[in-house]
C-alpha cells in the first residue's frame, strides 16, 4: 500500500534523518521510533505529502489518508459537533453519524461545547473522532498517545485495532512510552543526521 525507498529530507542543507526504506501492506502497522529531534514528525509529514522529500521515492496506493499531528486542526470557535460535521461534509463521508462517533470517543458530554473549552486530552479525542469519520485506508498518527489518560490510550489502541483488522494500514510515530500491541508490526528506527 505504501512503499518508501531511500527517502530523505533536508533542512538547512542537512539531512534530517538517515535514508528511510520500508514497505507497508494492508493490515500492517509501521512503528516509527527514535530519539527526540530525529525527524519523526518530518517523516510523517513527508509521507503525508505535506513536505516534498529531497531525494527518494514514495509510492502510495492507499485509498485516502488521514493524519493526526501536533496541530489537530480543530476550530476553537466551533463546537465539537460542528467541527466533526464540517469535516464529514468536507470529506464527503456523509453516511457516518457524527453523534455516534462522538459517543465512541467519549465526548458526548461536551459535544455542544465550543472547542476552546476542551482540555488537551479532549481535543485529542476530537481529532480521533475525525479519524473515524474519514473512511481512509492509511492513517498517519504523530504521537497519538500524548495528552491522553489511560482510558484514552486504550481508546487509541482499540480504534487502531479495528482499523487494522478491517484491512487498513497505519504509520505511528511515538517516542516509545507506550507501544500498541499488533502482530503485524514493522519497526522503523529513525537516526538523525547524515550517514556517517
Amino acid at each position: 500500500m505504501l512503499t518508501a525507498s531511500q527517502i530523505n529530507f533536508e533542512r538547512y542543507f542537512e539531512p534530517v534523518f538517515q535514508p528511510v526504506n520500508f514497505e507497508l501492506n494492508s493490515g500492517e502497522l509501521l512503528l516509527v521510533t527514535g530519539a527526540n529531534g530525529c525527524g519523526k514528525t518530518t517523516l510523517i509529514r513527508v509521507l503525508a505529502d505535506i513536505l516534498h522529500p529531497t531525494s527518494g521515492q514514495i509510492e502510495n496506493q492507499a485509498a485516502g489518508m488521514a493524519y493526526v499531528g501536533h496541530y489537530l486542526g480543530i476550530k476553537d470557535d466551533l463546537s465539537v459537533l460542528e467541527n466533526l460535521r464540517f469535516m464529514r461534509d468536507f470529506l464527503g463521508t456523509s453516511n457516518r453519524d457524527c453523534a455516534d462517533v462522538i459517543r465512541q470517543v467519549g465526548l458526548s458530554r461536551v459535544a455542544e461545547q465550543q472547542a476552546r473549552t476542551l482540555s488537551a486530552g479532549q481535543r485529542k479525542r476530537c481529532a480521533l473522532a475525525r479519524l473515524l469519520l474519514s473512511e481512509t485506508e492509511l492513517w498517519l498518527l504523530d504521537e497519538p498517545y500524548s495528552n491522553l489518560d489511560l482510558e484514552g490510550i486504550e481508546l487509541v489502541d482499540r480504534i487502531l485495532n479495528d482499523h487494522l483488522q478491517s484491512g487498513g494500514a497505519c504509520v505511528l510515530a511515538t517516542h516509545g512510552a507506550h507501544r500498541p500491541e499488533w502482530p503485524a508490526t514493522r519497526d522503523c528506527f529513525l537516526v538523525s543526521g547524515a550517514v556517517a
Binding site: E10, R11, Y12, F13, E14, H52, S55
Partner: protein, 262 residues
C-alpha cells in the same frame, strides 16, 4: 557527494544533457563559473569603455536636448536590464519550482539584487535627465512610473527571500512571487503607459526621438550589450558566494577552500 555518484550511475547521454547534469552539481558549477567570471568582467569593461568613449566624447550634441541626452547611455540600458533581469529571474524561478534544481534557485535569487540595482540606476538617472528636460526632478512619466513599480516588485522578492529562514523554502516562495510579478509586469507596464496618456501628463518622452542618428545609436547598443556581461559576471559571483555560504559544512567547500590557501 551524492550528486556526483548519481551522475556516475546514470547511463551516458549526449553532451548537452551531461552538461546540464553537471551544472546541477554545486562543486562543478562553482569551478566552472569561477573560470568564466574573469572573462565576463573583461568583456564588460572593454565594451563599456568603448561605448562611453563613443557616447560621451564622439557623439555630437543633440540639437533639441543639448548635452543632456548623453544620460541616455546609462539610463536606457539600465531600464532595459531591469526588465530583462526580472524576466530572466521569473523564468529561472519557474524552472526552479518545477524541477527543483537548487542551482537555478540560487541563480534566480542572486538576480534580484542586481536587477534592483539597475532599476535604481534607471530611476536616478531618469530623474536627473528630467531636471534639464522637464525642469523638475520627478514627473509621473510612464517609464519612470513603471520603473518605480518594478523597484517595488524587486524589493518584494528580496524582502520575502530574506524574511523566510529556511533557504530553500525562501527561494521557492520568492521564485513564485517573481513569477506572479512577471505575469503582472506587462499589464502594469501597459496600464501605466495608458494611464499616462489619459491624464495628459508629460507626453514628451525623453527618449521620444524615433529617428536617432547612428553616431548616437551605436554607443547605446554597445552599452546595452556590455551591461549584459556585467549581469552575467555579477550573477555568477553572487551565486558562487551563496553556494559557499549554504554548503559551508560540505566536503567540496572544504576542498575548494583548501586549494585556495595553497
Amino acid at each position: 557527494m551524492t550528486t556526483e555518484t548519481a551522475i556516475q550511475n546514470k547511463p551516458r547521454k549526449n553532451a548537452l544533457v551531461m552538461f546540464i547534469h553537471k551544472m546541477g552539481s554545486p562543486p562543478w558549477f562553482y569551478n566552472f563559473s569561477g573560470k568564466l567570471v574573469p572573462w565576463l568582467w573583461a568583456v564588460f569593461c572593454s565594451l563599456a569603455a568603448w561605448a562611453l568613449y563613443l557616447g560621451l566624447f564622439k557623439a555630437p550634441a543633440d540639437y533639441l536636448q543639448g548635452e543632456s541626452f548623453r544620460i541616455m547611455y546609462i539610463h536606457v540600458p539600465s531600464a532595459w536590464m531591469s526588465m530583462m533581469i526580472y524576466t530572466s529571474m521569473a523564468i529561472m524561478g519557474f524552472i526552479a519550482l518545477v524541477w527543483r534544481i537548487r542551482i537555478v534557485e540560487v541563480l534566480a535569487m542572486s538576480s534580484a539584487p542586481v536587477g534592483a540595482a539597475f532599476t535604481f540606476v534607471a530611476l536616478a538617472s531618469g530623474s536627473l535627465w528630467g531636471r534639464p528636460t522637464w525642469g523638475t526632478y520627478w514627473v509621473w512619466d510612464a517609464r519612470l512610473t513603471s520603473e518605480l513599480v518594478l523597484l517595488f516588485l524587486y524589493l518584494g522578492v528580496i524582502g520575502l527571500y530574506n524574511a523566510i529562514d529556511e533557504p530553500r523554502k525562501a527561494a521557492r516562495a520568492a521564485c513564485l512571487l517573481a513569477i506572479v510579478g512577471a505575469v503582472n509586469l506587462p499589464i502594469i507596464h501597459y496600464s501605466v503607459k495608458w494611464w499616462n496618456t489619459l491624464h495628459q501628463g508629460s507626453s514628451i518622452s525623453v527618449t521620444g526621438g524615433s529617428n536617432i542618428d547612428p553616431s548616437m545609436l551605436w554607443p547605446l547598443l554597445i552599452m546595452a550589450l556590455a551591461v549584459k556581461f556585467y549581469y552575467g559576471a555579477n550573477l555568477l559571483t553572487r551565486a558562487r558566494v551563496r553556494l559557499l555560504e549554504q554548503d559551508k559544512r560540505k566536503a567540496w567547500v572544504r576542498k575548494v577552500i583548501g586549494e585556495d590557501k595553497s
